[in-house]
């Protein structure tokens, strides 16, 4: 049937106010055990530092908290509900065993300063995960300390800076392709590098001639995403590395799209000197509504002296520990050792897959993206016909003729039971629809998605207003973002 929504249907949405609107004095969700030491006179202990009032903090019971957050949760879309094809975000299944093992007592309750002697379990996890990631990337060493991808970028560029400094030539700028994620230039600025834009060629890849022209001894590194944000593998990757290396520059790889490569090809083998991984993308740790992430940085041998402190080492007696005395280190980028809970989850994912599973995962991710490309080619404009790896980028060129843009199509997709793809990125494709299905989608789910996208394309021709007004099935309709930014209301206040 035409324009039938096979995946989604209507369901009851509970209304729910703000928690503060349910609060009233005397309600409580807590109970402390009786004190086994003498009571204290807080006024005497704290003097003028004593706090008397906690303002408008809520007072609610346990059942109200459970219902509050359960009701709120039903207003979210999630991987657990269906396909979440955000390009470059790798929204894959988050295995539940990961959550279970991260909560095992000794790991969940381990204190970062407990003696090494009783921390061997945690250290062994760091070591095993490090070894796995080093082989997956083909690099020589790794730090797990950075808390997210952007934090990894910063750590990587700090090491690049330290390396050039040690060579006696600090250098001034970072080359960044016009297809790059916004964190790349923002990171370069944080490490006090000037950013120089590098154009893509007609196939969506680094323009080799432009790179040759722009490369000189002021360039510290090129930050490259590979496959890039068009989902295209940089076929001239070694030439790119050679151009950089010939003038003493380094090749930084943003590992956001590593899901296209694991087990099939290793960045260390094609000339990358430093790269970060996103454990919350490629290695299945949950996105959790925006974090926590984890952004390990893998490096070639020549950058090893500059790793952040502390560095994991094996002592002479075979036990594991941390080394702090590293005179050339860039320093610490975070307190303690990084987002350890994410290391546990990532290692559990690697164990569940093994070498065969990781390879099959990559193959399925690339197969899925190509299947969607084939299914939607012709219906949507494909600005670059270069082969697709794990994600495919269309444009809204055909639909724009009817006044319908990528964001409108995305919003209509919600009515069909899917999370939207990434809109309007990469910047080199005007009106981009960036689709990354990941390996977690079955053929059935993708067929539904292709059918939904085709149906929307027909609606654009026949009844564009329906698409322009979408979504129609959500609890709230399109929200006024301009008003939100013009007069920001960033917190609740009691009615006066």
């Amino acid at each position: 049937m035409k324009h039938e929504t096979r995946k989604a249907t209507l369901h009851v949405n509970q209304n729910e106010g703000l928690i503060f609107e349910k609060s009233s004095p005397g309600k409580a969700a807590w109970k402390l055990p009786p004190l086994d030491v003498p009571e204290v006179d807080t006024a005497k202990l704290l003097g003028s530092s004593e706090r008397k009032d906690l303002g408008n903090m809520p007072e609610v019971s346990e059942i109200e908290i459970i219902r509050h957050f359960t009701r709120l949760s039903t207003w979210n879309y999630a991987i657990d509900l269906g396909m979440y094809p955000l390009g470059s975000c790798t929204m894959k299944y988050n295995p539940r065993v990961n959550e279970a093992v991260a909560r095992v007592e000794g790991l969940a309750n381990g204190h970062p300063y407990q003696p090494e002697k009783i921390s061997q379990g945690a250290l062994q996890i760091l070591k095993t995960l490090s070894e796995c990631l080093i082989d997956i990337t083909g690099m020589d060493a790794i730090t797990l300390q950075p808390a997210a991808g952007a934090h990894g970028e910063m750590t990587g560029l700090l090491m690049v800076r330290a390396y050039h400094h040690a060579q006696g030539r600090p250098r001034k700028k970072i080359l960044i392709p016009d297809s790059a994620h916004g964190t790349n230039p923002a990171t370069a600025a944080m490490v006090d590098y000037a950013v120089e834009n590098l154009k893509s060629d007609s196939r969506g890849m680094v323009d080799i001639a432009a790179l040759e022209a722009q490369m000189n001894e002021d360039v510290a590194a090129l930050m490259l995403t590979n496959p890039n944000t068009l989902g295209v593998f940089e076929q001239q990757i070694h030439k790119i590395a050679d151009i950089l290396h010939a003038k003493g520059g380094l090749l930084y790889m943003d590992g956001a799209n590593m899901n296209a490569l694991v087990g099939k090809v290793r960045p260390g083998d094609f000339g990358v000197d430093v790269m970060h991984l996103n454990l919350h993308k490629t290695f299945s740790t949950p996105h959790g509504g925006g974090g926590p992430g984890s952004g390990p940085v893998a490096i070639k041998k020549k950058l090893e002296p500059f790793l952040p402190t502390p560095v994991l080492v094996t002592h002479a007696d075979g036990t594991l520990g941390f080394e702090y005395n590293r005179p050339q280190s860039v320093g610490r980028v975070r307190a303690f050792y990084g987002n350890f809970g994410m290391f546990v989850r990532a290692l559990a994912y690697i164990q569940a897959n093994g070498p065969d599973g990781l390879r099959q995962t990559t193959e399925d991710a690339v197969l899925n993206a190509n299947y969607i490309r084939k299914g939607l080619e012709g219906t949507y404009d494909l600005p670059y016909s270069t082969p697709t790896m794990h994600e495919v980028v269309f444009s809204d060129k055909l639909q724009a003729k009817k006044g319908v843009r990528t964001m409108d199509i995305a919003k209509r997709l919600i009515d069909y039971g899917f999370h939207p793809y990434t809109t309007a990125f990469p910047l080199i494709v005007p009106g981009a629809l960036m689709i990354e299905p990941t390996e977690s989608e079955s053929k059935e789910e993708m067929d539904l998605f292709i059918e939904a996208m085709k149906s929307i394309a027909e609606e654009v021709e026949e009844d564009p207003q329906t698409v322009l007004d979408a979504p129609h099935s959500t609890r709230v309709s399109r929200l006024d973002e301009t008003a939100a930014a013009r007069k920001p209301v960033l917190r609740w206040k009691p009615a006066v």
């Binding site: 703000l18 969700a29 807590w30 807080t42 704290l46 903090m57 908290i65 459970i66 957050f69 949760s73 207003w75 979210n76 999630a78 991987i79 509900l81 988050n94 093992v101 000794g106 309750n109 009783i118 379990g121 945690a122 062994q124 070894e131 991808g149 700090l158 916004g182 964190t183 230039p185 923002a186 370069a188 600025a189 944080m190 006090d192 070694h238 099939k264 083998d269 996105h287 509504g289 925006g290 974090g291 926590p292 975070r334 307190a335 303690f336 809970g341 569940a352 093994g354 070498p355 599973g357 390879r359 099959q360 197969l367 390996e439 053929k443 709230v476 309709s477 929200l479 006024d480 939100a484």
Partner: protein
């Protein structure tokens, strides 16, 4: 592979639909010489039961069943059960950053409530959706002060968490931000005279921690006065969030950089934790990180969106206030649920129990060693100086499955044989008594666990 929802027949059908003969053709864009032709060197594929066994074994090697007196930026508080019940809901756990507001209202409204509660507790006017942790939040708060004042140099309290200081030093290296250190006095508080001497018209901000690394509550009214008199900002780091239940927040601060781990986040060997930045409304446009704001939909219904995105990297690129993208959303949700469970009254009572346990423990330790910094109020940590090397004391305690206080010599050589001890509502009187007793038994005559009444009970 059990996570992959395709049969061999599905794969065949899909390849056929694409018009390819084999999977290898999909990887043709990768030059052949780089393609990996061997298996990765990772553990073989394991059954779920094997994975669980593996991590249980690692857990047993990781201090399982020990009683601990460690704090120092990472605090063991009770975690109400409903935190994990709720954050385990797939709709929270497996959602992305709430860019598509219509299907992310659950995440967005909960962040709005989080921002509100952080404001209430800190006395600030706006709070962001989270930062990586307390250390990076402090570094980013300082960079925010640098942008706001147009000045570059920074004074950092020596009583700020030493690892926070290291992180700030890393961030500051290439920002042209000279850092200078202000020491602490015999009362454990920032030395005001030293501060007055080192502050200049170039000082962008003074960064302190309260309760500071020693557990001492700083006199931030006096510090703010010195800072503000000189046109500098006051940035306060709060590493022990539970203190906010009973300790007056630094209302005179311009920016507060928090670590909210104490609010329901597991110790987890140091992470993931939950940093937050809170500040005055007038400074919001220089704030890093995501912010949720209230707005209306087309029908005028209340709803929430990510807002003021023009500060952020995906819009402003190299001119953004920070490069932060992914933050600690799910951990912030833990913190949020914790704040709801304890609320206005419970947080105060919880903080009071921490105060009482610590007062008792400090009193007991004072009989055996020298308590430092007694002239100032403290929250749930205290510093004990002993004749014996605290490492030796800790080795003795460890035999009884007790982890003693953190020896401070590594971070503060001038403090000699001092150690930082922490008690929370989870610390029992019997554990305190046992630790005090064992700490006092210096050298030679180490009693066995059996001889020490009460010790076995502690070593659960």
């Amino acid at each position: 592979m059990r996570y992959l929802p395709k049969s061999p027949a599905d794969r065949e059908a899909m390849l056929k639909a694409i018009g390819l003969g084999s999977v290898d053709e999909l990887f043709a864009p990768i030059p052949a010489e780089y393609r990996l032709t061997r298996d990765l060197k990772v553990p073989r594929q394991m059954a779920e039961s094997e994975i669980v066994d593996y991590f249980r074994q690692r857990s047993r090697e990781n201090g399982e069943g020990y009683t601990s007196f460690l704090g120092a930026g990472s605090y063991a508080h009770y975690r109400p059960v409903i935190i994990d019940s709720l954050i385990s809901r797939g709709e929270f756990l497996t959602a992305y950053t709430p860019y598509q507001a219509e299907i992310s209202q659950g995440t967005l409204q909960s962040i709005f409530e989080f921002q509100t509660m952080i404001c209430e507790l800190t006395g600030m006017e706006v709070a962001n959706a989270s930062m990586y942790d307390g250390s990076t939040a402090a570094a980013e708060a300082v960079m925010m002060a640098v942008r706001l004042t147009g000045r570059r140099s920074v004074i950092v309290a020596r009583s700020l968490h030493p690892e926070y200081r290291e992180v700030l030093a890393t961030y500051a290296t290439h920002q042209g931000m000279p850092l200078s250190i202000a020491g602490f006095g015999n009362d454990g508080r920032l030395n005001l005279k030293e501060l007055e001497k080192s502050i200049t018209p170039e000082t962008a901000c003074v960064l302190i921690q309260s309760p500071n690394f020693f557990g001492t509550i700083e006199d931030f009214t006096a510090i703010a006065e010195v800072a503000h008199k000189n046109g500098a900002m006051l940035v306060v780091s709060i590493a022990e969030a539970v203190s906010l239940g009973i300790v007056e927040p630094p209302r005179e601060a311009d920016v507060i950089a928090m670590e909210a781990q104490s609010f329901g986040v597991p110790l987890g060997f140091g992470g993931p934790y939950c940093g937050v930045i809170a500040t005055r409304e007038k400074f919001v446009r220089q704030m890093p990180g995501r912010l949720v704001g209230q707005t209306v939909d087309k029908q005028g219904r209340r709803g929430f969106v990510l807002t003021l995105a023009t500060r952020e990297q995906h819009i402003r690129r190299e001119k953004a206030t920070s490069n932060i993208c992914t933050n600690q959303a799910l951990v912030a949700l833990m913190v949020n649920i914790f704040m709801n469970v304890y609320g206005k009254v419970g947080l105060k009572e919880l903080a009071k129990q921490n105060l009482a346990k610590t007062a008792y423990a400090a009193g007991q330790f004072a009989k055996q060693g020298t308590l430092l910094f007694t002239a100032s109020p403290r929250f749930n940590e205290f510093v004990v100086e002993t004749k014996e090397d605290p490492h030796a004391i800790n080795s003795r305690l460890l035999e009884h499955k007790i982890v003693g206080g953190l020896p401070l010599k590594k971070f503060y050589p001038e403090l000699g044989n001092a150690a930082l001890w922490c008690c929370t509502e989870l610390t029992t009187r019997s554990a305190i008594d046992a630790a005090v007793r064992l700490a006092a038994k210096s050298g030679g005559s180490v009693p066995s666990a059996k001889e020490e009444a009460g010790v076995e009970e502690v070593a659960r």
